[in-house]
């Protein structure tokens, strides 16, 4: 029983990280109508920035995270401006998708060039050891608790932002009909830039939490969590903010439980198997809407 609870809490924590990454995927997809396959690598960039400032230069971890958030935000805005925006009206939507894959390889290889291929050992940004319940039979790490709380705070913040602010309303309008949004006087470019900024800032936060829970850092650290978060976003219903949250949590819990009870080698296969099943049974995901148009 205790081992199940331990796995469940760990799954919740991993799921929270997937959720934060999936939020970035889903917002960019919903508003800019593109899959930013470099999103996972923004996480890796965030990890290295924190690593440099915190582990190497001895800066306070919170300050290092703030620096990573700022730099990742700038990276996201620049990538959108330089690589994606010129292709936004390209004849084929594949053009921007392939560019995103290109950006992904570019960032990975840039990190390889700067930091080398060897694994860096990341110091957790949460020094708190955690709590011990049931006379020590259930140990929950500090980073686990912090991760779950941070993801909940982010979800609440995003929901309030989207539904209560002018900029959030502009995002909703652009996600539903970009042309009509422009006719309302909404600056579509600015709205998309803001979306990339938020998504990239979230990637930095996810990076801090991910590298603290799994403290080995390589140029490919972000790739697999990025893809799994994409699966989570599709599972929850891509474009939906609560959907990304639910998808992330479900995926994280399934992954950890499969690792514990079935096979750690098979865990990833199970995760991607779920994607296939979901796409067959419910192509719109858990909270996705059926797209129906009134003519």
């Amino acid at each position: 029983m205790m081992s199940f609870l331990t796995s469940f809490v760990n799954g919740l924590s991993l799921g929270s990280i997937y959720a934060i990454i999936a939020l970035g995927y889903t917002m960019v997809y919903g508003i800019a109508k593109m899959l930013n396959f470099a999103h996972g690598d923004f996480i890796m960039v965030g990890c290295y920035i924190i690593f440099i400032f915190s582990s190497n230069l001895g800066l306070n971890p919170v300050a290092a995270i703030l620096i990573a958030i700022v730099l990742c935000t700038l990276l996201g805005i620049t990538t959108e401006r330089v690589a994606y925006r010129p292709l936004r009206n390209a004849a084929s939507p594949l053009a921007v998708l392939i560019t995103a894959i290109g950006v992904s390889y570019f960032l990975e290889n840039l990190a390889l060039l700067i930091f080398g291929a060897d694994t860096k050992s990341f110091t957790s940004v949460v020094p708190w050891a955690g709590i011990s319940l049931f006379g020590g039979s259930l140990q929950i790490q500090g980073i686990t608790i912090v991760t779950i709380l941070v993801s909940l705070l982010i979800l609440i913040f995003l929901q309030l932002f989207v539904h209560k602010t002018r900029e959030g309303q502009a995002m909703l309008a652009v996600s539903q009909d970009r042309g009509a949004a422009m006719l309302m006087g909404i600056d579509v470019n600015k709205t998309i830039t803001l979306t990339f900024a938020i998504g990239s800032a979230l990637a930095a936060v996810a990076g801090a939490l991910l590298a603290s829970a799994y403290p080995s850092l390589t140029p490919y650290t972000g790739a697999m969590p990025g893809i799994k978060a994409f699966v989570a976003a599709v599972l929850g219903g891509i474009g939906s903010i609560p959907g990304a949250m639910i998808g992330g949590l479900v995926l994280g819990i399934i992954e950890i439980l499969s690792r514990t009870y079935i096979s750690s080698q098979l865990a990833d296969a199970i995760v991607f198997g779920i994607l296939v099943v979901v796409l067959i049974v419910r192509p719109t995901g858990i909270l996705g809407k059926n797209i129906q148009e009134k003519v």
Partner: protein, 235 residues
């Protein structure tokens, strides 16, 4: 002259959709732009509202060439478009849609005044103010799209095929609304395939054929014109 178009050319790739057209709309007029499918009517409106960039030509609005002004800034200058097919924000409520129409306006109190004026003009929207817009009927969506455009208090309203897909009764209702919006002082540029309706309501009209203006004149004269009657009025 409120709106003066000079030598406007628009391309889609290598295809020229507008071949250097000239026309104008005076303050207080209803001007109709009629023509067959693919003549360039919608392209003309999209270029005026800034959804499409012209290759050449001028769009003079209140004496100033706005052809280089980004589209989203033209709303505040007084240009509002009701797009073809309504394009209401389907997942938002009626009231949220109307608020989107006033996106560029900051004054809350004034905004509420405009919203109650819109609700007076469209009582059905008031009844359904909390309904999700995607579930409205076609006619109701058309009214919502018009109400949404009016929320920005435009000096010119660009209407793209407001009668499309509506029942004859609803078409009459929509045209009555256009008339009353016009009587309240809004200039109207109307694009319509229903040429008879359009010419009946308009002061002047231009006929667009494959990207060029071929005929223009007073609407009442065009209604009597033999070639227009044959080509567009089905006589």
């Amino acid at each position: 002259m409120l709106l003066e178009i000079k030598g406007l050319s628009v391309y889609y790739g290598v295809i020229q959709a507008l071949k250097g057209i000239d026309f104008s709309v005076d303050r207080g007029e209803i001007v109709a732009l009629i023509g067959a499918n693919g003549a360039g009517k919608t392209t003309t409106l999209h270029t005026i509202s800034g959804m499409i960039e012209p290759k050449a030509g001028e769009i003079n609005f209140e004496g100033k060439d706005i052809s280089k002004v980004p589209g989203h800034l033209r709303v505040n200058m007084g240009i509002a478009q009701v797009p073809e097919g309504r394009r209401v924000f389907a997942d938002m409520t009626v009231e949220e849609n109307l608020k989107m129409g006033a996106y560029t306006r900051r004054d809350k109190a004034e905004l509420n005044d405009t919203m109650s004026m819109i609700f007076d003009r469209f009582p059905r929207l008031k009844e359904r103010r909390n309904q999700i817009s995607g579930t409205l009927s076609g006619g109701e969506q058309q009214m919502l799209a018009m109400g949404r455009a009016l929320m920005s208090k435009p000096s010119i309203l660009l209407l793209d095929e407001p009668s499309m897909g509506l029942s004859p009764i609803m078409v009459n209702e929509v045209f009555d609304i256009i008339r009353s919006v016009h009587e309240d002082g809004t200039t109207v540029l109307l694009v319509e395939q229903n040429a008879k309706k359009a010419l009946n309501i308009a002061d002047r009209a231009y006929v667009l054929e494959t990207g060029s203006i071929t005929t223009s004149g007073n609407a009442s004269d065009l209604l009597e014109d033999d070639s227009i009657r044959k080509a567009y009025l089905g006589d």
